[in-house]
Symmetry: C2
Subunit: 335 residues, 2 copies
C-alpha cells in the first residue's frame, strides 16, 4: 500500500514561471487576467506559451483555499432519487451556472440529521448550495454552512429557513391538489402510494400528509399504500386491491402510476371506472398510458432565473425573490 507507484510530478504555476523566466506572481496575473496589474505583451505571450507547453492545470483546492471560497455549487441529491423532471432541470441549471463560472456538483449521502448533513457539505466549502429538499434544512444547518463560507443557500421548500433563500414548493400542496381532484371526481376512499425506494420518503411523506389534510376536511379517507418499483410488488398490491376498497389513488409519480395502472389492469380492475389514478410530474410517459394519465405538473422556475439569483446571492449577499412552484393539475382520462 502507498507504494507511490509513479509520481509524474504535478506541474504548478512555479514550473510555468521557471520556464517563462518570470516570477510566479506574474504567471498568476497573466493567467487570471488581473486588471489591477499591467504586464507587457511580450512576457504575457511567454507565460501563456509556457503554460500551454507544460499543460498547466490550476489546483482548485489551493485556489479556493486562498480565495476563501470555491466556485462549486453543491446540489445534495442522489442521482436516482431525482426523477426525469428534476434531472433535466438540474442539467440545465448546470449549463446556466457554467456561464457564471460555477461548477455544479451533485452529491448524495444519507445523514441522520440536517446538521450532520450540512457539516459534510461544508467540508467542500462550496460557494452555494441548492437544496431541492429545503424542508430537510434547519436554521442551525444553514448556520453551519454559513460559517463554512457558503454564500448562498437556495432551498426549495414550504417554510422559511433562517439564512436561506426560499423558493416556494409545498409538497403538502401537491398531495392536497391530487386528493382534492379525486374527491371532486366523486372518490371517497383514497390511497396514496408510498414508494419504498430509499430517498423518496422525503417527498412522499408530506404529499401523504397533504392528502390526509384534505380527507380531514371532507367525508373521504386516505390510506398510505406501500409500493416498490417492481412488477412483483405492484402485482401483489393489485392482488389485494379489491379488499382494500380504494377507489382513487395518488401514485407519487408518473412512473409509479404507470406501474400501478399496469398491475391493476392485470388484476382485472378498470381505470378510471374502478380506480381513478393520478400521477405527478407530467412526464412524456403520462401521455403514453392507456388511459392517458392525469398528473400534477410542477413548473419549476427557469434554471437561468435560479442561476442568476444564486450568483447575486454569492456576490452581493442578497437576491430578488425567485418565483415559487405552483402545482397544477393536468386532467386526462385516468381520473
Amino acid at each position: 500500500m502507498a507504494k507511490e507507484p509513479k509520481a509524474p510530478a504535478a506541474v504548478t504555476s512555479a514550473d510555468v514561471a521557471r520556464l517563462a523566466g518570470v516570477s510566479r506572481a506574474t504567471v498568476s496575473f497573466v493567467l487570471n487576467n488581473t486588471q489591477a496589474h499591467r504586464v507587457s505583451d511580450a512576457t504575457r505571450a511567454r507565460v501563456l506559451d509556457a503554460a500551454r507547453q507544460l499543460d498547466y492545470v490550476p489546483h482548485a483546492a489551493a485556489r479556493s483555499l486562498r480565495a476563501g471560497r470555491s466556485n462549486l455549487v453543491l446540489v445534495p441529491a442522489s442521482v436516482s432519487a431525482a426523477g426525469r423532471l428534476v434531472s433535466a432541470w438540474v442539467d440545465d441549471l448546470e449549463s446556466e451556472l457554467e456561464r457564471h463560472g460555477y461548477v455544479l456538483v451533485l452529491h448524495a449521502g444519507r445523514f441522520p440529521d440536517p446538521v450532520r448533513a450540512a457539516r459534510a457539505w461544508a467540508e467542500l466549502r462550496p460557494a452555494a448550495v441548492v437544496a431541492l429538499d429545503g424542508d430537510g434544512l434547519t436554521g442551525q444547518a444553514v448556520e453551519v454552512l454559513g460559517r463554512a463560507g457558503v454564500r448562498g443557500v437556495i432551498a426549495f421548500g414550504s417554510r422559511e429557513v433562517a439564512g436561506a433563500h426560499l423558493v416556494g414548493l409545498d409538497q403538502t400542496r401537491v398531495g392536497a391538489l391530487a386528493a382534492e381532484h379525486l374527491v371532486a371526481r366523486g372518490r371517497r376512499t383514497l390511497g396514496v402510494v408510498m414508494p419504498q425506494e430509499r430517498g423518496l420518503a422525503t417527498f412522499a411523506r408530506p404529499r401523504l400528509a397533504g392528502a390526509q389534510g384534505v380527507a380531514a376536511r371532507s367525508t373521504a379517507t386516505v390510506t398510505p399504500v406501500e409500493l416498490s418499483y417492481s412488477l412483483e410488488s405492484a402485482a401483489e398490491l393489485a392482488g389485494r386491491w379489491r379488499e382494500s376498497g380504494l377507489d382513487g389513488v395518488f401514485a407519487y409519480n408518473d412512473e409509479y402510476a404507470a406501474l400501478l395502472m399496469h398491475a391493476l389492469r392485470g388484476a382485472g380492475l378498470a381505470v378510471p371506472e374502478d380506480v381513478a389514478v393520478v400521477g405527478c410530474d407530467d412526464l412524456v410517459l403520462s401521455g403514453m398510458q392507456q388511459p392517458p394519465l392525469t398528473s400534477v405538473r410542477l413548473d419549476l422556475p427557469t434554471p437561468a432565473e435560479v442561476a442568476d439569483a444564486l450568483h447575486e446571492l454569492v456576490d452581493g449577499g442578497t437576491a430578488p425573490q425567485v418565483r415559487g412552484v405552483t402545482p397544477v393539475l393536468v386532467q386526462r382520462q385516468s381520473s
Copy 2:
C-alpha cells in the same frame, strides 16, 4: 458587489486548539486518530469537546492540498443522460465508496475534446475518475489526469486506454446483438433510433455502427432514424413509417422503445407483426409494455467490486481486472 455582507469567521483547527489550550498539531492528531502519536486521554477529551462546541468542520481543500490528493471520486456524466439503470448503479457505487472514505461527485460539462475535459476534471484533483464513457478517453487525457495526482482511472469502454483500468463494455456489441436478433427473427430492413437529446449520441453512435456491421455481413440493411423524446416527434416518425419500409427497429433504450411503440400503435402498425422492436437496459418499464418488450440487458459489475478495485488502484497503483459487461438479449413478445 462583494459587500462581504457578514463574515461569520469560519472556525479553523487553530480556534479549536486555542479553546482546548493545546497546540494545533495536537488537535490534528486527535481529530485524525493518528496512531503514530500518543496523546493523553484527558487532553483528547478536551480537544474533542472544544471541536464539538465550536462545531468545527475541516476544510477539505486545505486537507487535500496538504495531502496532495483528495478523497473525491469524480463521475463525469450529466444527470439526465444517465438512464435509470446507470443512475441506480451510481447510487450504489456511492454507498460503497463511502465505506472506503471516498466522496462520489457527479459532474457533467460538455467539452470539445477529451484533453480539455480532462483538464477541467483535473482542477478538482480527484483521487479517481470513473468514466462511464471510457471510449471518449485518450491516453493523453489520462496522462493529464495522472499529472494532476489522479491515482485511478476506471474506464468503461471497448478499447484499452493507456493508464486507465478498463472495464469491458462494447457499445458496438450492444447494437450488433440487437441487430443479430432482429435478423434471426427474419427482419431485413432495420432501423436504429438515434435520440436527439444531447449527451446520448456518445452511446447511440457506436450502437448504430454495431448494427451496421451486422447488416454488412448479411442481406439486411440498417437505417438510422432520428427521434426526440416527445409524443410529437414519435408521432411524426410513426406517421412516415410505412414509406420507410422498416420491419424491425432497435430503439436505443427501453424508454425510447416504449415511446416508439406507443406511436406505432397510434399509426395503426402492429408490434411485432409489422415492426419488431428491441429496447435496451431491461428496465421494469419493458415488462409493462403491450406487448412486453424485448430488451438488451447489461449486467454491470457490482458497485462493490468496482469500489474495491478503485480503492486498490488509488492505494497501490494496481488492481485485479474487473469483470466486463456482456450484453444479453432478453426476448419477450415485441420481436
